[in-house]
Amino acid sequence: MLRYILNRTLRSILTVVIVFVTVFMLLRFMPLNGYFTDEMLKVSDEQTRMAYLRNQGLLDPPFSQLWRFVKNLFAGDLGRSLTVYPKVPITILLCEKIPVTAAFGAASLVLGMTLGLLMGMFMARYKERLGDTLGTFYVVFVRAVPSLIYLFFIQVWVSGVLKLPLVFYEDRPESWILPTICLSLGSIAWYAIWLRRFMVDEENRDYVKFAMVKGLSKKYVLRRHLFKNAIIPIAIYLPSDILFIISGSLIIESLYAIPGTGGLLTKAIQKQDNNLVQVIVLMYAILSVLGVFLGDLLVAFVDPRIRLTEDEG
C-alpha cells in the first residue's frame, strides 16, 4: 500500500510538472503587445513599452524566467500580478478571493449534494413514474437551456418576487441565497442523474432480487443495500468536488458581483498575465491530481471489494 501511495505521488508530481512547464512555455509564445491594453498601447510608444517589458523581466529567456519563478516559489513568493492587477502580490489576491468563492462553493456543494442525492433516490424509487419524469425534465432543462438565460432570469425576476438583493453583499445574509442556489442548480442535476442511473443499474443485480425475494420491502432494500453500492461511483468524485470549491463560476460571480476566483483565470489568460496564469494553473493542476488520488483512496477505503494494487490480490 505504501509503495502504491509513493508511486502514485511521484506520478502525480510528474503530471503537475509537465502541465506547469507546458503552460509556462506556451505563455511565452504570446505576442508582446498582448501585455498591454488598447488604452496603454495608444498612449505609449514602442520604446516605452519595450522598456516596461524589460523591467518586468518579460524579455528574459523563458528558461531563466522559469528558474526565477521556481526559486521564488520555494522561497514562498508567488510573484506579483502583471496586467490584471498590476504589482499586486498574487498571495494577497488569492487570500482575498479564495475564501469568498470557497464559502459559496461549500454551501452549494452541500446543497447540491443533499438535494441531488435525495432527488436521485426519489427518481430511482419511482422509476418511470411521474416523479422520475419531472426529475428528468429538470435535469434536461438545466443542461439544455443556455445557463445565461435562466441565470439572468433568476437574478432579475426571482429576486424581485422574493424581495432578495440583486447582488451579493457580505453583510446581508439574504443576499447569499440566490447565488448559492444558482451555483448548485447544475450539481443537483449531476448528482441526481448519476445516482439514479447507478441505482437503476444496481437494481438488476442478483443480490437485490434476492433481498426482495426474501421479503424485504423495496424501500428498505433501496436504503440499506442499494444506496451504499450506488453511491460508490459518485464518491470517487467527492474529494475533487471538495477541493474545487475554490474555483468559482465565471457567469454567476459576474452577475452577482461576487469578488471571487471565478473568471480570474480566463481574465488572466486574456490579458496575458503570465504570473497569475501560471500560479493558478499550478494550483488547479495540484488540486485536480490530488483530487483523483484522494478519490481512489476514498473508494478503496469505503468499498472493501476494490483493491488499488494488482499485486496484492
Binding site: 488598447d38 488604452e39 498601447l41 495608444k42 516605452t48 498590476p86 499586486v88 502580490p89 494577497i92 447582488v167
Partner: protein, 660 residues
Amino acid sequence: MKRTVSLFLAIVLLASLACACQGPASDPGVQPTDGVPSGTGAGEAQPTPPEQAEPLEYVDLYKTYFTSEYPSLNYYTTVYGGVRGLAANCVEALVEPDEYGLYQPAMALSWESNEDCTVWTFHLREGVEWVDHQGNPTGMKVTAQDYVDAVRYVGDPLNGAYSLRVVRDLIEGLYDYYWGLDDIDSGTDTTTVRADLVASFDETVGVKALDEYTVQYTLSASAPYFLSLIEGSMLLLPCEYSYVTEMGEDFGIDNQHMLYCGAYYLSTFERDKKIVMTANPHYWDKDSVTIRSIEQQRLGDTMTTLEMFKRGEIDECVVESEEYSSLLGTEWEKYLAPNSFSSSTNYLWLDFGSDNPEFNAFIHNENFRKALQHSIDRESIAYLREPVTPSRLVRNTIIAETLIYDDRGVDYTDYPGLAEIKATDYYDAGKARAYMEAAVAELCDASGSILGVDAATVDMLPVAQFDVDGKLPVTLLYVGTDDEAEILMAQLLEVMIEEAIGADLIDVQLAFATGGFYSTVADPLNYDVYYDSLSVPYGDPGSQLSRLTSDGAENVGYYEVPEYDALIEQALMESDIQKRYALFAQAEAYLVNGAYVIPFISSLRGYYMTRIEPYTGPLMQFGSIKYKGMRVSAQILTADQLAAISSAYEEKKADRLSGN
C-alpha cells in the same frame, strides 16, 4: 405652465447653490437617509418627487457603481479611468476647475507664468498634511518637493508610468533623463552610473522647488494650456517620495498602501467589490465638501444597473437606447434625461498603406475619400445609441464643441474653417456617388479595371483573408471589434456605403477581430477602414491635433500631409491664445476637408437617471470627476428639473466665459 414652474425651480436652485457656496452645506434640517430601503419592490419604493418647486433635499451619502475591476490604485501607472476618478478626489492637484471650467486655486494659492507660457510658478498652501486610510494625519507635509518628486518618480522607467509621453516631452530635460536611465537599464550605456544620473535630476530636469512652498516648472514648449494639463494628467499629482520609495512595488496595491491629501480618503477598499471614499477631516477646504461618503460598488454586468437604480441601491444609472424604449410609458419616463455631452469623437480611420491593392490605389485619391465621407448616414448610426434625437450625436470636427474656449469666451470650434465644417451635413448619397465616379474616372480604365492593380490574395490574418480581382467594385475591408453594438454598427456601415456609392463601384467587406484590437488590427495595419474614438486629454486643440501629424502617435493609417504638419508646428509655438487657436482651426479644417480622417459622431450614449444635482461640483472635462461640492438629492431628479438646471447653468456659463 410647465415652463414657469421650471424657471421658478431653476431660480430656487441657483439661490440654494449660491447659499451652499457661502456656508457649510450640512444643513441641520436635512437628515441623511439611507436612500430607499433595500429589497422593496420597485413600484412603491420610490417616493414621487414633488412637482411643485420646492428646494431639493440633500443627503450626504452617494451610492454609485463601477463595472470593471480596479487593477491597482497607483495613479501614476494605471490608465484605468476609475483610478483617475479616485486620484482626483484623494490627492490634491495644484489647481482645479470651478463649475464653469475656469481654474481656481487648489493646493496652489496663486500662480504665474512668463510671457510665452514656458515657465510656470506655483505658490503652495502651507500646512497641509498627508493623511492615511483612516483619515489620521501622518505628520508628513505636502510641500513643493512633493510635486518635484512626482516628476522624479514618473521619470524613472523602472516605475513604469503610463501615458507619460505628453509630460515627458513637455518638461524641460525629462525626455533625456528618462531615456538616459533606460539606456543604462537596457545595457546600451555602460559608462554612466545609474546613481549619478538619478542625482543629476535636480539640475537637469525643469521642475524645481524654489522654496518649501514654491514649485516651478520649466517647459520645453509654449504651454498656455498647462493648467488643464494639471487637471488632465495624473502624473503631476504630488508624491511623498520617502513614503513611496519605502512602499516600493506595494505603493497603491490597496488603500492602506497610499497617502491622501484631497477632499476624500479611501476608507474601504474591497477589491472587485466595494470602495468607500470618506470626507477628509483635515482637507484644507473641508467646508465645501458636501457628500460625506461615496460608496462605489461593483456591478459585474451592466444589465443590472437599471434594476439596481430602480430598487434604490445606486443613485445614478446610464440608460442605453434599448432600455430607453422599455421605460417609456412607465413611472420612470419622467426621470429620463438625455446625456448632454461627450468630449470623445468617433472617427473612421483610413489605412494609407493598405495591403489591399484596390483600396490602396484609391485611398490616396481625395475624391474617393470624399465619397466615403459623404456616404455615411450619421444620424442612422447615431440612432443605435440615441433613438429620440440622434442628430445630437453628429459631430464633424475632431475636437469637441463647447469644450475649449479662448480668452474672449469664443468656442474653438467656431473659429473660421471649423464653423463651416460644423454646419455641413455631410451625408449626401448623390455627392458620394459623384465623387466616386470622379475617382473612378481618374483611376480606372474604360473596362473597369483599376490601373496598376492585378488580381491578388490579400493576407490580413489573423483578421481576414480575401481575394481581389483588380477590377471594380473596389474592395474595402472594414474591421470592427466583436462587441455586439459595434457589429451592428459595422453591418449598418456596410449597407450604407454600398447604397450611397453604389455596389457596382464599392464592395465593403466586414471582419471582426477578437482580443486586443490595437495589437491585432490597428498596429499591424490589418484593415482598410475601422472606427475608433479619441477624447481630448487636456484643454488645448493641440493635445489631439499634434497626435495626428504625419509622424504623430495617433496617425495609425500613416497618411502624409505636410501642409497640416507645418500648421500644427506653427500653432504649437504660438503662445497667443487667439492666434494659436486660429492656426489649429486652420489645420484641423485642412485635415477634415481632405477627408484624411472622417469624424462622424460623438461618443455620447443615450440617457441617464440620477439623484446628483448637475453642475454642483468642479467641471472636470478631461476624464476624471471631483465630488467636492457636489450634492445628492434625496429624490430622483426629473428630466424637467434637470433641463431647467441645465439651461440656467448654460446662461450663467456664457456670462462667465465672456466676462473673463
